[in-house]
């Protein structure tokens, strides 16, 4: 299953909630959620831990817009909107954690 998160990890609990119940699959960070995948963010440790069992992606255009592309955590894959579409298509189902 593809889990889509769009909120900053320090503003809301959606990333925490997703990681609490999800054991496998992939997480795509879009919009303000891309901050979770940047070095030095307070969420870095929990994201690294999640990467042990989940594949993590971040939307490149949203990283660019926020000036954060150059500090993406190693092991997180940046994708563009075409890659976003592929991720939805490749996984049997998806969920947006609003």
């Amino acid at each position: 299953m593809l889990h889509i998160i769009n909120k900053s990890p320090q503003e809301r609990n959606s990333l925490d909630s997703c990681l609490r119940v999800t054991q496998s699959g992939a997480v795509l960070l879009i919009e303000d959620a891309v901050y979770a995948a940047t070095r030095g963010n307070a969420a870095e440790a929990k994201l690294r831990e999640a990467m042990g069992s989940l594949k993590v992606y971040a939307l490149g255009p949203d990283l660019d817009a926020r000036g954060m592309s150059d500090r993406l955590i190693d092991g997180v894959t940046a994708v563009d909107y075409a890659g976003f579409v592929d991720l939805v298509a490749e996984h049997p189902n998806c969920q947006s954690w609003l």
């Binding site: 119940v21 496998s24 189902n93 609003l98």
Partner: protein
Amino acid sequence: MSEGAIKKFMFVNRKAPYGTVYALEALETVLITAAFDQDVSLVFMDDGVFQLKKGQQTKGIETKNFSPTYRALDGYDIEKLYVEQESMEARGLTEDDLLVDVTVMSRADMGKLMEEMDVVLSC
């Protein structure tokens, strides 16, 4: 998809009632989905568990109390209501505090259940 296809729809309720309209408008979607004879599951986690709290009295905020609708879901054959245990505990709630009978689930089981769905709507 052919006529009469049945998909597994899950509605993930994570928001408290009244602060935003999501809980109310999600219920409208739930009822319509059941009318289409789909396989409907409702999940209440995080602040969403507050939607089921007994004793809601909305007169003071001049807003409609829609909590009785949860009691009526049964009449629409919507019987799969799941509450995540950790969310309930972190809010000081027990099953006795809830308006309706639910299945309480661990976070791990909740994650597994989500995996089995065809359509997951978060509200």
